[in-house]
């Protein structure tokens, strides 16, 4: 599987981060992708959508995705070009939802102290490492289950089930 390579577009330092905050709870039922993308991250960095580039990655703290996560926030993020999320750890409900979308999620204890915003990083699936290209160091990430890896590889649940025996 092709390595992820991009900049750290944002670091969510809040523990137990509720991803619905990315678009705001009052907007959580919006389905139009362009509209979602235009409101995403407004309360964190109003220039986010102009700064982000395809392939960029997000970083999260422990138990990222806790609460009652909905799909629109990460639909917006993918639309803006975000290619994956690296976090100290993930909340299972969020994890399942995004893996089913084929959206790469990388559990990587120590990531918060390992990167600064806009660092260039590479996620090497083969070596199971996150490389900080800006700082010239590397950090091992936690192995994903076979099914989760295959789901990311197949672009999500449907592709995975077609490929599965």
């Amino acid at each position: 599987m092709q390595n992820l390579k991009g900049r750290i577009a944002f670091i969510f330092d809040e523990i137990d981060f509720d991803i619905d905050q990315i678009v705001g709870v009052k907007n959580i039922k919006i389905q139009d992708v362009d509209e979602l993308a235009s409101i995403a991250m407004q309360s964190y960095d109003p220039d986010f959508r102009d700064l982000v580039r395809p392939g960029d990655l997000l970083v999260g703290n422990s138990n990222f995705g806790y609460g009652h996560p909905h799909y629109p926030p990460m639909i917006a993020m993918r639309h803006l070009g975000i290619a994956g999320v690296i976090a100290e750890s993930f909340s299972p409900g969020y994890w399942r939802g995004e893996i089913a979308m084929g959206f790469p999620q990388i559990p990587c204890p120590g990531i918060m102290d390992f990167v600064d915003r806009w660092d260039d990083v590479e996620v090497d699936w083969q070596d199971r490492q996150v490389r900080n290209l800006t700082k010239g160091k590397q950090l091992e990430f936690t192995e994903l289950s076979e099914a989760d890896m295959q789901m990311i590889q197949s672009g999500g649940l449907i592709g995975y089930l077609h490929a599965r025996d």
Partner: protein, 418 residues
């Protein structure tokens, strides 16, 4: 080395003698359960046919569908969704249980909570079947896998054991015990693990209370929660069991990722302060906070024990003028029982609005709040916007505390009414 109850169940359904945490397995669920909801069941039915060319599920007796959200329907689109579910159920020979109550609970009434069984749902609150020694997991959209394949692939999770010790004091309920677990251990204490609950307090916690505790496991990060069956839960479950299985229980020398001992004898009523399901505080610290709406119900609390204690609190009192107290029994069977016992009469006489069973009050479809309103609730969740406006607030507490707060229109310690 022995095995946990979860490991024994996963070994059986994956055709192995034993499994260890981290093993990659293909597991055949004994039961696949869902309620109809836009984006879930309608999509699964369509994808089954269009993506995989499957017209019918192979073993319909393994599947169960519930119509418990959007009941009663208020738009033609909602009724359309229900009709799609009824039609699919009929075409597949899969039972559709409608207007029987909240499926997560009714599934146990109907014998799907077989001790030793493995069940999947898209919604994690199905974990309450763990009360009967059933391993029941919410897998979100991955539920499609269980509709198009005989087996689902998964990694065997570790188990965290939590022993509840001591006795709950008067006015302190299982609901408080669960949120105390989150307060002590934290919201990620059991991340991707199975929460197994035991301890010397457990035999003194009713089946209703155990269902409450297991229902909410997701807020510890757990993938599900389970208890070793005892004489009481076996007596409930065995008579109605849909399949014959030998119950299993954890071995004394089972290997746990962690074992936590939590004393609940000093516990007082708690409140889960918005907007986080992990923010457990002593209710006494919030007593006197003005509140406008009360909700007693949901798959977490709304069972006979909850209705009974609310009636005890309210007897001889009135719901404060202008306060909206909605009481929704978790199932129709519970409502019937509460009616026979005169509990409903007491609740209605106090000024409570009592409705037939539905999930709708819990997720902001019925009894919704406008900006600035504040609820006391036994619902599952207190995140922003859950019961209406994102600028309303939900304080979660036990059923007795909701009833007491309804009398005063302020967050109120229920113990003075008991």
């Amino acid at each position: 080395m022995g095995a946990t109850i979860a490991e024994k169940i996963l070994a059986r359904v994956s055709g192995r003698d034993s499994v260890r945490p981290g093993d990659e397995i293909s597991a055949k669920p004994d039961f696949v359960i869902a309620y109809d909801f836009p984006g879930y069941t309608d999509v699964i039915f369509r994808q089954m046919k269009e993506e995989f060319g499957i017209d019918k599920v192979a073993e319909p007796e393994r599947y169960a569908l519930f119509i418990d959200h959007m009941v009663p329907a208020v738009t033609p689109a909602e009724e359309d969704l229900h009709q799609v579910t009824r039609d699919w159920g009929e075409a597949n020979g899969v039972p559709v249980y409608e207007r029987r109550g909240i499926g997560h609970h009714v599934a146990s009434e109907l014998g799907y909570a077989v001790p030793g069984a493995f069940a999947v749902h898209f919604d994690g609150h199905i974990s309450q079947m763990g009360t009967f020694g059933t391993l029941a997991m919410g897998v979100r959209k991955h539920l499609l896998e269980a509709f198009v394949k005989e087996r689902i692939k998964m990694r065997v999770p570790e188990t965290v054991r939590v022993n509840l010790n001591g006795r709950l004091a008067e006015g302190v309920m299982a609901r408080d015990a669960f949120h105390h677990i989150v307060r002590v251990l934290g919201p990620a204490a059991c991340c991707f693990q199975v929460l197994e609950i035991g301890g010397d307090a457990l035999p003194h916690i009713s089946i209703d209370g155990r269902q409450t505790i297991n229902c909410l496991a997701m807020f510890t990060g757990a993938v599900t929660s389970i208890m070793n069956p005892d004489a009481d839960t076996l007596a409930y479950a065995r008579d109605r069991a849909r399949i014959e299985l030998d119950p299993v229980a954890s071995d004394d020398d089972a290997d746990y990722a962690a074992i936590h001992e939590i004393d609940i004898s000093e516990l007082e009523p708690v409140v889960v302060v918005p907007p986080r399901p992990s923010n457990t505080q002593n209710l006494s610290d919030y007593a006197g906070t003005d509140v406008h709406v009360g909700y007693l119900g949901s798959c977490a609390s709304g069972r006979l024990e909850d209705l009974e204690i609310a009636a005890r609190v309210l007897r001889g009192h009135r719901v404060r003028d202008g306060f909206q107290l909605n009481i929704v029994p978790t199932s129709q069977a519970i409502m019937e029982e509460a009616s026979k016992k005169g509990i409903l009469t007491d609740l209605i006489a106090s000024g409570a609005y009592v409705a037939s069973s539905s999930c709708d009050y819990c997720f902001g479809r019925s009894g919704v709040m406008t900006a600035g309103q504040r609820a006391v609730s036994t619902g599952t969740l207190n995140v922003r916007g859950r019961m209406g406006s994102p600028d309303s607030e939900i304080y979660i507490m036990n059923a007795a505390a909701v009833a007491a707060s309804a009398i005063e229109g302020k967050i109120t310690d229920p113990r003075k009414y008991l």
